[in-house]
C-alpha cells in the first residue's frame, strides 16, 4: 500500500486526522503546562541576561517550528511534483500561514529580547536576519500560491518556488552569517550560545515539543478546512 495515495483519499485522511488531532491537542496542552512551569518558575535566570533569558523558551521553539514546517513543505512539494498528488499541495497551503505566524512570533520575541540585551529592537544579528529572510520566503510562497486562478498551476508554480527556496536557505544563511562576522562588533552577546545549562535545556525541549504538537494540530485542522472548502467549491460548480 502506497501511504501517499492511501491518505490522499479524504476518508482515510479524515480518519487519520480524527485520531491524530486529539493526540496533538492533548500533547500540546500537557507540554505547554509543564513547559511554562519550568520556563517561568523552575529554571535559573541567566548570569548575564537575568530574567529576560526566559523569552528564549518561546523564541527558539518558534524558530524550530518555522524552519521545520518550511522543510516539510519543501519535501511535500517534491513529492507533489513527482507523484502529482493534491494532498501535498493541501499540506503546503495549510502549513504556510502557520509557519509564517511562528516565524513572525520568533521575530517579535527576538526583538523583545534584543531590547534589554543589546539595547536595540533590531540588531541585524546573523540568526535573526536569516529568520527575517525565511519570513519573506513564506510571504512569497503564500502570495504566489494564491495568485493563480487555476489551482493546479498555482500548486505547481509554488511547489517549484519551495524547492528553489530550500536549496537557497543554506546559501542565504551562510552569506548572512559571513556578512555578520564582517560587520558585527565581537562584544555583542550571541543568542543561545553553544553551551546551555541542563536546567535551561529541559524547559526549552519541553516547550519545543509543545510548539510542535500545537503546530501539528493547527496544520491538521487547516488541512481539513482546505479540503472542505475545495469540496464546497466543486459542489457549487455542479460537478
Amino acid at each position: 500500500m502506497n501511504p501517499i495515495t492511501y491518505f490522499a483519499n479524504p476518508t482515510h485522511f479524515n480518519r487519520l486526522a480524527g485520531w491524530l488531532m486529539p493526540v496533538f491537542a492533548t500533547g500540546a496542552v500537557i507540554a505547554f503546562a509543564a513547559g511554562f512551569y519550568y520556563a517561568l518558575f523552575n529554571s535559573p535566570p541567566d548570569y548575564q541576561q537575568g530574567e529576560t533569558v526566559r523569552i528564549m523558551y518561546v523564541h527558539v521553539p518558534a524558530a524550530w517550528v518555522g524552519m521545520g514546517l518550511y522543510m516539510a513543505m519543501a519535501a511535500a512539494a517534491a513529492v507533489g511534483l513527482v507523484a502529482r498528488h493534491t494532498l501535498a499541495d493541501i499540506f503546503c497551503v495549510a502549513a504556510a500561514p502557520v509557519g509564517a505566524v511562528f516565524v513572525a512570533l520568533c521575530l517579535a520575541t527576538g526583538s523583545l529580547w534584543g531590547k534589554p540585551t543589546w539595547g536595540t529592537w533590531w540588531a541585524w544579528d546573523g540568526r535573526m536576519t536569516s529568520v527575517l529572510v525565511l519570513f519573506l520566503l513564506y510571504c512569497g510562497y503564500i502570495i504566489l500560491r494564491h495568485s493563480f486562478d487555476d489551482d493546479e498551476r498555482g500548486a505547481k508554480a509554488s511547489a517549484i518556488l519551495l524547492l528553489v527556496g530550500i536549496v537557497n536557505i543554506p546559501i542565504i544563511k551562510f552569506s548572512v552569517e559571513w556578512w555578520n562576522t564582517l560587520h558585527q562588533p565581537a562584544s555583542l552577546l550571541r543568542m543561545g550560545g553553544s553551551a546551555i545549562a541542563p536546567d535551561m535545556l529541559r524547559p526549552l525541549l519541553i516547550m519545543g515539543a509543545g510548539f510542535m504538537f500545537y503546530a501539528g494540530y493547527l496544520v491538521m485542522l487547516r488541512m481539513k478546512t482546505v479540503m472542505l472548502s475545495r469540496k464546497i467549491l466543486r459542489l457549487s460548480e455542479g460537478e
Partner: protein
C-alpha cells in the same frame, strides 16, 4: 493520420470538453465550429501540445500551431523574423520560398513594426511554409486578412491537403473546399 481518443480538458477545475474522439485521415480538412467559450481554442492548444489533456490520448503527429497571437517582434525585420521561425523549427530557412507563399517578398526588409495587422497575420501564417509539419492547427486564421490574403491561405490549404497533409481550423467562415469534415463543439 491523426487519431484522438477520449480526450478531456480541464481548466480552473472545470471541464472545458469531455470524451472527445475523432480520426482524421491524410489529406483531410476538419472545421471546428461552436459558440464562444465552447473550447475550440483549448482543443487546438491541447492538440498542439501546449496544454496537457486531463484524460485521453492524441496520436503523435508533428504539428504547426497558429494561434490568435501573431508571435512577431515589432523590432525585427520580416526577413529576421522568418529566420527566427526557422531557427525555432530547427530547419534551414529558405526565405525566398517562404516569403513568396503569403506574398511577403516586397516587405522582406521592412521592420515588422511598420506592417499592417493583415500583413503581420500573413507573416505569422508564413510559419506554415517554413515548418514542414503534416498537421496544421489554425485558430481563426483569417482574422485581419484581406481577400487576397484569404485566397493565398486557401491555396496553401488546398495544396497541403492535396499532398497528404491535414488541417484542423477553428473558424466560422465558409471555406471554398470540397472535402470538409465538421466538428461542432458544444457545452459539456
Amino acid at each position: 493520420m491523426l487519431s484522438v481518443e477520449n480526450l478531456s480538458c480541464r481548466r480552473n477545475g472545470r471541464f472545458i470538453f469531455r470524451n472527445l474522439g475523432f480520426t482524421l485521415a491524410a489529406g483531410c480538412f476538419l472545421q471546428i465550429t461552436g459558440d464562444n467559450g465552447s473550447g475550440k481554442s483549448t482543443l487546438l492548444r491541447t492538440l498542439a501540445g501546449l496544454l496537457p489533456p486531463a484524460f485521453g490520448t492524441i496520436s503523435e503527429t508533428k504539428s504547426c500551431y497558429i494561434g490568435h497571437l501573431d508571435a512577431v517582434k515589432p523590432a525585427l525585420t520580416t526577413r529576421e523574423m522568418l529566420d527566427y521561425f526557422a531557427v525555432l523549427q530547427g530547419v534551414v530557412p529558405d526565405v525566398t520560398r517562404a516569403s513568396a507563399a503569403f506574398g511577403l517578398t516586397p516587405l522582406l526588409d521592412r521592420p515588422v513594426r511598420t506592417l499592417s495587422a493583415g500583413q503581420k497575420r500573413r507573416l505569422s501564417l508564413t510559419r506554415l511554409a517554413i515548418n514542414n509539419a503534416p498537421l496544421w492547427l489554425l485558430d481563426e486564421p483569417t482574422t485581419a486578412l484581406d481577400a487576397a490574403g484569404r485566397d493565398l491561405l486557401f491555396a496553401a490549404i488546398v495544396h497541403h491537403c492535396a499532398t497528404g497533409g491535414m488541417v484542423i481550423a477553428a473558424t466560422h467562415e465558409t471555406w471554398p473546399l470540397v472535402d470538409i469534415q465538421h466538428l461542432k463543439m458544444g457545452a459539456v
